[in-house]
């Protein structure tokens, strides 16, 4: 493997992803745009807790911590998911350039992974900002936090790997639906949001949704992320970590094989360049 060539490619694709994300406006407007949305989302969901606190007349710091960390860390996953899945739709429907990128890079899968990198970096910074602003907003005392940097690093890395794999799997489905790429991304994001211990424990869901929750690595990842922020957060850390690692490996293998299959199939039926407009 030519490592230098690979690094050049990764750099070029990441550079392009950054340009596509940011070059539509001046830097300060871009920063504003990047911050306004997640902070508005923070307010939107933080007030769910605040509305409850007003209605019930009592605070619940554990619930506040749970919700805010959920919203904050979801930025990392949501960003990465969107950054990869949206590419197929955009390059095929919008720029009509998918075919050129397809033939110029050794694998479409690799291309998609590279395109997602910038989004994860952005998501990481947004996570930190939302945590820093969100916890005080709901009255949570930041001095109560006892972060574990090592666990945090591992959690971020595993998050990148499994979420990328999940995004690759979902992107392979969007190869067959020229119009609904964005909705596929939204759908997968919504599923993770609902079943992934983001706003509430997944055990609260009806029993028929539990298998979906168990299949996705989001639950374990979220709880481990919370633990990385406060080691007093009571979970079975070794068990969850083992489960997360195992699921990540399965996702990597499955998504790689599935994508190869879908890639072949879409070319067989001649739908790689299919666009639609209405």
């Amino acid at each position: 493997m030519d490592v230098k060539k690979l690094l050049i490619r990764i750099y070029a694709i990441s550079w392009f992803a950054w340009q596509e994300l940011s070059n539509w406006t001046k830097p300060w407007i871009f920063v504003l745009y990047t911050l306004v949305r997640p902070l508005s989302t923070l307010l939107l969901y933080a007030y769910i807790y605040i509305a409850f606190a007003v209605a019930s007349g009592q605070a619940n710091p554990a619930a506040a911590f749970y919700m805010i960390t959920g919203i904050a860390f979801y930025n990392y996953i949501g960003n990465g998911l969107y950054g990869i899945i949206w590419v197929i739709h955009e390059e095929r429907e919008h720029y009509e350039i998918l075919k050129y990128n397809y033939v110029s890079y050794p694998s479409l899968q690799g291309y998609l992974v590279c395109r997602g990198i910038i989004y994860y970096i952005l998501g990481f910074f947004l996570t930190i900002i939302v945590l820093a602003l969100g916890l005080p907003l709901v009255g949570y005392d930041l001095t109560n936090l006892k972060p574990n940097l090592a666990v945090f690093t591992i959690v971020m890395l595993l998050g990148f790997i499994w979420c990328t794999s999940l995004s690759i799997f979902t992107a392979s489905l969007s190869l067959f639906s020229s119009e609904y790429g964005p909705l596929i991304s939204e759908g997968m994001g919504g599923l993770l949001f609902l079943t992934g211990n983001v706003l509430f424990p997944a055990e609260k869901l009806p029993p028929w949704l539990h298998p979906i929750s168990e299949m996705l690595p989001m639950k374990e990842w979220m709880d481990l992320a919370r633990y990385s922020m406060n080691v007093d957060y009571a979970i079975n850390t070794p068990a969850l970590m083992a489960s997360l690692v195992a699921k990540t490996i399965i996702y990597v293998v499955f998504s790689t094989l599935f994508f190869k299959m879908m890639d072949r199939l879409v070319r067989k039926i001649g739908a790689l360049e299919a666009t639609t407009a209405h």
Partner: protein, 323 residues
């Protein structure tokens, strides 16, 4: 007299960041009703910019433009009622809808109403021989079929003035010939129709147009019938010389007194270079052959040719129309 299209000192400047591009520079044209008027020029000459202004999609920086007597700036609504555009090389349309449905939609935009709209659609499908794919979705059509659809869309409102912007671009010979035939018949059968056709294909301009204007870097550099324009170079002696080998810049030939213009094109497959020369005197050709021999190029043939619009362009601009 009210012209179908008239522009007076029309100028359009684009600002892109720090740079400025003068796409049109004091363009003055007058197109009579019932004419097919050609605008010939290379890519980037300003042809499409002119069409966009006349179609009310773009405002000029200065100057005036009138379509059928209506000011394109002050009376755009009146202009839109009587014009249409067909552009080449485009895939505009709703891919998820069939040809019939797409055409029906545009009929509504011109105020046809339900029944009249479908009737008009059927007329156009028959006119342009699209029955075989009328009920096929646009995103499944070939380039030639899409261009037929585009032409049908351009005729949906029976426009008095039709702007055809490189309508045969990217089409194969058969479809291009068909489109040209339709264009020619349109005006023959409807003498009140006027067509402004932009192209960089000389043969197309010569075949279709009553009058032609040559545009280069935003300026009209010549205007007249095809014969009028060729007459500009009729006194010139035009020769085509073929040599074996791929030649260099040929500066040594340009320096010969009496060589007015020169272009060449090498074919790396056959290994032959074709040189086109505009000379002031027939006798100069022997000097040129000599000069080529001195450089050890074998001269395969020397032919005196009739002037074409390419030569007109070459004389006026000093470069080929089509590179």
């Amino acid at each position: 007299m009210t012209y179908a299209v008239e522009t007076i000192d029309l100028t359009r400047v684009f600002k892109r960041g720090k740079s400025t591009i003068k796409a049109l520079d004091n363009v003055n044209i007058s197109i009579r009703k019932g004419e097919i008027f050609g605008l010939l020029g290379p890519n980037g000459a300003g042809k499409t910019t002119l069409i966009r202004i006349l179609a009310t999609l773009l405002l000029p920086t200065s100057g005036e433009a009138y379509v059928n007597g209506y000011d394109v700036i002050k009376e755009p609504d009146k202009v839109r009622e009587i014009i249409n555009i067909v552009s080449g090389g485009e895939r505009a349309g709703y891919g998820i809808l069939t040809v019939r449905e797409n055409l029906w939609y545009y009929s509504q935009l011109y105020g046809y109403g339900w029944r009249e709209g479908w009737k008009k659609v059927d007329e156009l499908i028959n006119l342009l021989d699209m029955k075989d794919f009328a009920n096929v979705r646009l995103n499944r059509l070939s380039t030639g079929m899409i261009q037929k659809y585009n032409l049908a869309r351009g005729l949906i409102n029976d426009p008095k003035i039709l702007f055809l912007d490189e309508p045969t671009l990217g089409l194969d010979v058969e479809v291009a010939r068909y489109i040209r035939k339709i264009i020619k018949n349109l005006v023959r059968e409807n003498p009140d129709k006027t067509i402004l056709l932009t192209t960089h294909y000389m043969a197309e301009a010569e075949q279709l147009c009553d009058r032609i204007a040559i545009i280069h870097k935003g300026r009209i550099i010549a205007e007249g019938t095809s014969d009028d324009l060729k007459h500009m170079v009729s006194k010139e002696k035009i020769f085509k010389v073929e040599v074996r080998g791929i030649v260099g810049a040929l500066d040594y030939i340009r320096k010969i007194n009496g060589v007015k213009a020169l272009t060449y094109k090498g074919d790396i497959v056959t290994g032959v270079t074709s040189i086109r020369l505009v000379l002031s005197d027939n006798d100069l050709i022997s000097k040129i052959v000599e000069a080529l021999n001195e450089k050890r190029f074998k001269v395969l043939s020397v032919v005196k040719v009739e002037p074409t619009l390419e030569d007109v362009f070459l004389k006026l601009v000093g470069a080929r129309l089509v590179e």
